[in-house]
């Protein structure tokens, strides 16, 4: 069960979450143990999963083509559990820089990156990145040139988005494992680029 804090008063949504989870458990939709197991499983997911997908796409043109055509099927083909996620992978190139957001809530490709960072869920990021993306990117130290198209993807509905960042120059000799270590969560959200080592 969710822990009840002794130190603070529950707000409306915290009280609602406790009530709804208690009801679902009482009515037998799932058990408290199921819920804990699911929370544990999500806590174990990290951006390392997404980084491995990116490194494979960088080194395997056939996989990359399948990933861009059907992200869910491509990830399942290398043994990843995608759960209910329908994945859309968007490739950043010399001419397009992609960045993802969910303006309505906090939709995020959790199966590949785990829990989103707090800033991703903030009203500041969600409201500004759709309206002034270049200013937000600049705050992350990312400055696409003026002739690059900055393309924002608002995760409003059923697909979840992952950015396939550009592979840095001068990484030709690196193994897939070495490449994966360069790929950060923020680069798969699109607020940063992948830096050469």
């Amino acid at each position: 069960m969710t822990m009840r804090s002794e130190d603070s008063v529950l707000d409306h949504y915290q009280a609602m979450e406790l009530a709804v989870s208690a009801l679902l458990i009482d009515k037998g939709y799932f058990s408290a143990a199921d819920m804990e197991a699911e929370i544990d499983a999500m806590a174990k997911r990290t951006p390392d999963i997404g980084a491995a997908v990116v490194a494979q796409a960088w080194t395997d043109p056939d996989f990359k083509a399948r990933l861009l055509a059907d992200g869910t099927a491509a990830c399942e083909s290398i043994g990843l559990d995608m759960g209910p996620t329908r994945l859309m992978v968007v490739e950043s190139t010399e001419t397009v820089h992609n960045v993802i957001v969910c303006t309505l809530c906090s939709c995020f490709p959790r199966m590949l990156m785990g829990i989103p960072p707090d800033w991703y869920k903030s009203v500041n990021y969600r409201s500004r990145v759709v309206r002034e993306p270049r200013m937000v990117l600049k705050e992350f130290g990312t400055e696409p040139s003026a002739d690059v198209e900055v393309r924002v993807h608002d995760n409003t509905a059923d697909m979840r988005y992952l950015v396939l960042p550009r592979r840095p120059a001068s990484t030709d000799g690196m193994s897939r494992e070495e490449l994966a270590k360069l790929v950060t969560r923020d680069s798969m959200i699109g607020v940063k680029i992948v830096e050469a080592p």
Partner: protein, 96 residues
């Protein structure tokens, strides 16, 4: 099955129904083009109230020029935003 194909110019309905709506306010009334036909999904506006959401609704990635979404957009002229929108929120641009 899907009414629109990639490249079609569309305008998002400027409507404000109550309930669980996945069409952001900022994009209502704006015009763009179909970038991709995704698939058909149960209607979230119905699912949110415990109904089955059927028939499934075609979902699109619709691409908008930022300069047409925000009158004071300060980025580059070529910048875009993609939003996922259900077919019942879209109208052919010439009909608006």
């Amino acid at each position: 099955m899907a009414r629109f194909v990639p490249g079609d110019n569309v305008t998002v309905r400027r409507a404000f129904p109550p309930g669980h709506v996945r069409t952001p306010y900022y994009i209502r009334g704006k015009s763009g083009h179909i970038a991709q036909v995704l698939d058909s999904f149960a209607n979230p506006e119905e699912l949110a109230f415990g109904r089955d959401g059927l028939p499934k609704r075609p979902l699109y990635r619709v691409r908008f020029a930022q300069s047409r979404v925000w009158s004071d957009y300060s980025g580059s002229a070529g910048d875009t935003i993609d939003v996922e929108l259900y077919e019942h929120w879209l109208e052919s641009e010439e009909n608006t």
